[in-house]
Symmetry: C2
Subunit: 615 residues, 2 copies
């Protein structure tokens, strides 16, 4: 069967965009860092995930719902775990076809279809537990599950050419159009994601009603409709306090807020709504400058899994949910397509390497839901999500694991774009990328090595290669020529097959300071090297080194040393720190070793910190 292998965000031909995604088949990871992550995803995460869907009851819910009666298991949004796994399996199949994985997808698809009601409605937990559709918009997650179904169905179609899940999705989407479209009633659901799902379904099917419904959901939100259900609801939590065009900064539940913004960006692109793009750009900037951790992590509060107030960014109680980083990368990707601005590609780099990747063990078998930046020696492992428990194989609320799987499986798709001018490389990934009249092979030891070798495989006349130079990359060169950072370096010579282009990004250790309005980082520094944030982990220190007593000297000298070896080529940092004396003992100099943050808690879990106070 011929498969389209279109991009996860396969924008319409007439979408208003600066850059366009490549087809999946034209953006392939062939080796290096991300290939290893994808191998762990394929070998461990995805098969484990399937087992968990069976064990958790999420799949059984569909079988029980097909009979119409019986108990439902798991949280109200349990269906979405199945859908996100299906999406991950589809992108993984696109990356590396595997008949067993296809058969598993199709079997689950049949199970899903069996539970769908004749008019298209589908939500097994609501069907089995609630007895009433759309009875609790704030909490019942029916559209949330639908959105993930739409994304999975599109993925299956693009990856395998099969319409099995797409047919189910279409029936549900048609039902939603009847319920909530122009002939239906206004509706705001507690957890956004349906907006992205509907737009993608529109892109795949051409049914304009789906785009219109997404646009309607985008506009209806932020007007307090949820208060008609219950005046006590906290509208902030649900991103329902302020209309999207008037929002100045994302607020409330972080995943909801960024999923919604990403969906709004999709709508803006497909409806050529530049004022909406501008509003979203302002919100993104406010988030990045006042509500984002140095790791890219989002969400300062455990309470409500929410953004804090501006500059409220505790290290120890960072929530920084893995899903929020994924959603922010999706939002940043859409902003990148709309604007072509390098800062969004910088964001994606940071989010993927320093906020999403820490969410999964390097073996692919365990996950962090919450990504702290500081774990103390006496930290209590009081809840399932506490960092002191280390990563966990699964969660009662299992949103993060399959979200990581679908992201890792499709990560190559976010490395490059095309435009009328040529091909743009946004992320440095060993692989093949073709579009905009250029076909290249990229080879790199990134993120540990700053050299990126680009071989031209094919080139049309006048096609230009654009290379993102990260804002952090001072002194970068392309073929020996100095290039500015925080923008795209354009290789303006006439490219031909066989040409080679070399990007060099110097990677000295950088000591990053935060805004002094952030209590946790005032007077402290974070270590960064290249795109990676570093962390001090107890396991790398001498027994008598106490992380919470370490101080960064005024002019530290860093030596690059081999990393923990959990990832090929990883680099550690060694320096002399000051250990503050306690109980009358004097300060002393100690050797400290830092590792890439994403590698932490892969050798057991113990004290860790990202920010180090200066002496």
């Amino acid at each position: 069967m011929a498969t389209a292998l279109r991009h996860p965000t396969a924008v319409s031909a007439d979408a208003d965009l600066t850059l366009r995604p490549l087809d999946l088949g034209a953006a392939r990871v062939t080796g290096g860092f991300w290939r290893d992550r994808q191998t762990a995803n394929h070998d461990t995460s995805i098969p484990d995930g399937l087992r968990r869907l069976h064990e958790s009851g999420a799949l059984e819910n569909f079988r029980v719902a097909a009979t119409g009666r019986g108990p439902a298991r798991g949280p109200i949004f349990a269906d979405s775990d199945v859908y996100k796994w299906l999406e991950a399996a589809a992108w993984e199949y696109a990356r590396q076809p595997d008949e067993r994985l296809l058969a598993e997808q199709l079997e689950i698809t049949r199970t899903v279809g069996g539970a769908q009601q004749p008019d298209g409605y589908l939500d097994t937990v609501v069907q089995l537990r609630r007895g009433k559709r759309y009875g609790d918009p704030a909490h019942d997650h029916e559209l949330y599950c639908a959105g993930h179904l739409f994304q999975a169905a599109v993925a299956q179609h693009r990856a395998t050419g099969r319409t099995d899940l797409l047919d189910i999705a279409g029936k549900l989407a048609d039902h939603l159009v009847r319920e909530f479209g122009p002939e239906g009633r206004p509706y705001v659901e507690g957890h956004p994601v349906v907006e992205m799902g509907l737009v993608e379904l529109y892109r795949e099917t051409g049914v304009r009603d789906y785009l219109d419904l997404a646009a309607r959901f985008v506009e209806e939100r932020g007007r307090g409709l949820l208060h008609e259900q219950d005046p006590q609801l906290d509208l902030t939590y649900f991103s329902d306090r302020v209309p999207v065009r008037e929002t100045t900064s994302p607020e409330g539940h972080a995943v909801r807020a960024v999923y919604f913004a990403a969906g709004a960006a999709d709508v803006a692109a497909e409806t050529a709504d530049r004022p909406l793009v501008d509003a979203l750009a302002r919100q993104f900037e406010a988030m990045a400058s006042t509500k984002q951790y140095v790791t890219g992590g989002l969400g300062a509060r455990w309470e409500g899994e929410a953004f804090g107030d501006p500059y409220e960014l505790p290290s120890d109680r960072a929530y920084a949910e893995t899903c929020a980083a994924i959603g922010a990368a999706q939002w940043a990707w859409r902003m990148l397509l709309s604007t072509g601005e390098a800062r969004y590609a910088d964001q994606i780099e940071r989010l993927l390497l320093d906020a999403v990747l820490p969410g999964v063990s390097l073996r692919g078998d365990e996950f962090f839901y919450v990504n702290t930046l500081h774990l103390r020696a006496d930290a209590s492992p009081d809840t399932e999500r506490s960092a002191a428990n280390g990563r966990r194989p699964w969660f009662d609320v299992a949103c993060c694991p399959p979200n990581v799987m679908r992201t890792v499986a499709s990560v190559g798709a976010y490395a490059a774009t095309a435009s009328a001018d040529g091909l743009q490389l946004h992320q440095y990934v060993t692989g093949d990328f073709a579009g905009g009249g250029l076909s290249v092979h990229v080879e790199t030891g990134y993120p540990f090595v700053g050299t990126v070798d680009i071989g031209v495989l094919d080139a049309q006349d006048g096609a230009t290669l654009g290379i993102r130079i990260p804002a952090w990359a001072q002194g970068a060169t392309v073929d020996g020529r100095a290039v500015g950072s925080g923008e795209y370096a354009s290789v303006d010579r006439r490219l031909q097959a066989g040409d080679r282009v070399q990007l060099r990004l110097p990677m000295p250790v950088r000591l990053t300071t935060g805004d002094d309005r952030v209590d946790a980082v005032r007077g402290a520094v974070a270590m960064e090297r290249g795109p990676l944030v570093y962390a001090l982990e107890q396991i790398d220190q001498a027994d008598d080194v106490v992380l919470d007593d370490l101080r960064m000297p005024a002019e530290p000298e860093f030596a690059e040393v081999p990393g923990p070896g959990l990832v090929e080529g990883d680099v550690g940092l060694r320096f002399t720190a000051i250990q503050v004396g306690r109980a009358g003992r004097p300060d002393r100099r100690v050797t400290a070793t830092a590792v890439p943050y994403f590698e932490w808690a892969n050798r057991g879990v113990g004290p860790m910190r990202v920010w180090v106070p200066r002496v």
Copy 2:
């Protein structure tokens, strides 16, 4: 009717204690600062509270439960609001008899009694909503409500001599003894307080079974019994992870933890269990040194209203629940009686003035549930409890308001104690205090003025006056003689009626630094004067002063200026601060004015901060 006016913690004659409480009649506030707070409590808080009990449905629940069928309103622990109000009304009646307040108490008492079941069981919400007793020990709060009923019943008896509520309490306590005593089954409830209630009921009735049951509850806790109900429960939250004798530091839900510790201290006193006192002393010290805010506030996490890990004390997200400060003061009082150590009286001072009192408006009409130490300009008023909303007239979970009422009404009882040696003054309160062979009248402008005049009204031969000298009070004198701080100054001359003793506590502004392991306070200082913590509030600054940009200069000079005038004699602090320039503007010097923290948010609510970073 003759009333005993015994103390809220009227210890048994054979309790193992260093100090003993005075009778309520022997510890009377007659004027000054606390008298004004008690007047607001009498005139506004208590009458308002009664109205709220009617409006919230808490009282109606008793009437409905008397009929056996109907809906219950409010949270599962709604009964406790009624009991805490009854306790407040009783102590208020003891302070200032008022026939209308007595009639109201007795009417409510009749309503309460009407709902009691024949075997003594009483919990209206469980009766009406659950259908099963003790079916959800973690969450159903049956013993929590019972504990507050016992405290209220004892208060009513001590204040009015009436046994109406005491009879109801006794029937319920006897039922509990049958259920959970030596002949019953082991039981741990999610929310402690019944331990304190049972001990006090034992003190009032002499029924040893009640003390034994309290001791049993103290010992059974911390052994994971709640996991027999549900293995997923977070034992930390419920103080059920570690037995009381092995606990090193309070953890989990702050109010639960300190209520439990206070109850354990009661049991320790009445059973002469010094090892338990020692264990509780270690826990108190760990709390004070690693988990307590400069204000005395307790509970660093909104999530679970809980203690954080050691040194996890964010200013902006301080939870510092008003009830937790009240519970900690109760615990400190019991430790003071057991040990006679001044540090516990210092704690009570701080807790009352800087952590409990901020929980109520100076008019007595509004309450903080959560007591932040830092409110930013852009803070979101997202939940009912957010500081940005200011104090609220009441809460859906209304534990704090009546808790403040009962504390303020009885505050004089915690000012002094007696021992075989004489009388000890722990808190400086204008009033009359008699015990240990001494009777004195105290007159003071405290907490704003450091002079305390003590007039001896009557003295037995050899009776000694002990005066707490706060740890902060460097240079204190008694009758001009220098005395050490952090201990009791003993007036060793032979006292006679008509003698006058003068305590002078110098009150320069102190710049307090915190432990540098606390992120939020590293490099910052708090202003204190006498027993009061100060705060910067936007309303007192010039329009162009931005609180979050203020820095404390190296050697600030403070001028004492009149305070906001919300409290008689209040003192403000004026100094020159540095305002950090933003967006390229230079730093500049600005005048800043600080006010006592407890006064904040009484003139509208706006940005506020306690800790100020140094330049």
